[in-house]
Every structure is written in C-alpha cells, then in structure tokens.
Amino acid sequence: MSVADILTVLLVSVGLVFFLAGSVGLLRFPDFHSRLHALTKADNLGLGLIALGVAFQVAEPFGIVKLVLVWFLAVLAAASVAQLIARSALDRLPDGKEADKRG
C-alpha cells in the first residue's frame, strides 16, 4: 500500500463517520431545526473528506479540479438550501403540524 492509498483509506473512513453522524442526527434529534443542523453540517464535511480522499486516487490534474468543484457546488447549494428550508419551517408549530396560514 502506498502513502496515497493509506491517506485515501483514512480520509474516506473519517468521511463515512461524519455521514453516519449526520444520518443518526437526522433520526434522533427532537425538532426540525436541530435535524437540519445535523444534516447540513455533518454531511458536507463528510463529502469534503471523501472528495479529498478520492483525490489521491485521481491521476490527471483536471480530475482533481473537478472533485473540488463538485464539493464546492454541494457546499454552496447546502448552505443556501438550509437557510431557505429553515426559514420556511419557522412558521410551523413545534409538534410538526403546519400553522394554518392559508386561512
């Protein structure tokens, strides 16, 4: 096993732990906003670590640039989407029923 392979195994494994943490948080946290918090942070950190780990297996430079771009798009999308969903969920009641706003 080369140094690059060891780094890949290490980084991908840590990334998997973050993905697992995100899923467990999505299942276990009590209200919507903490679930969204667990999901958006942990998952995108996991994706970044996996992209970094996979980058050690890519031979050509353009492939690495593409991996970085994929991660950047995912982080950008997750940041704006989390903001939008969290705001749209603000007018819902804590027990999960939607507030009656169409009256």
Partner: protein, 95 residues
Amino acid sequence: MTAFLLLAALFLLATIALGFLRVHRGPSRADRIASAQLVGTGGVAVTLLLSAASGNGAIIDVGLVLALLAAFAAVAFVKSTAADGAGDPEEDEGP
C-alpha cells in the same frame, strides 16, 4: 483499494437508507425534503467513490447533476410552501 472504495460506497448507501426512515416518519414536509438533501449529498459521495473504484471519471458528472437537482428540488419546495408576501422577489407583492 477497489474493494475498500466499493465497501465505503455500500456503507454510504446504508446511511442514506437510515435517512429514508425520517422520510417515512415525517412529521412535517420540511423533514422529508431535508432527508432528500441527505440523499443528494450522500449520492454525490457515492458517485465520487464509484468513479475512483472504476477509474471512470465520467461518473463524477452524474454526481454534479445529482447535487444540482437536489438543490433545485429544495428551492422548488420552499417556493411552493412560502406564504404570500414572504419576500419572494419573483412573486407579485400587490393585493
């Protein structure tokens, strides 16, 4: 190395399946679309791992499309649930 990457992809699929439990339980629609975000992020990671395992760089493009579609789905959801006058610049604010 290929075996490790494929195993990692399998593990990721299992965590995505855990997220589907939240889709099943709900309770709100926002919870379900948040789980769809998990499928988007996890799916991108799976495509990255598969592209490294198979040595086929084109699979990364699939991941790019997946990330884009997950973001569009969430934005469409937010636009469909936003109340009138919530500040959406694409909506008429008049009476």
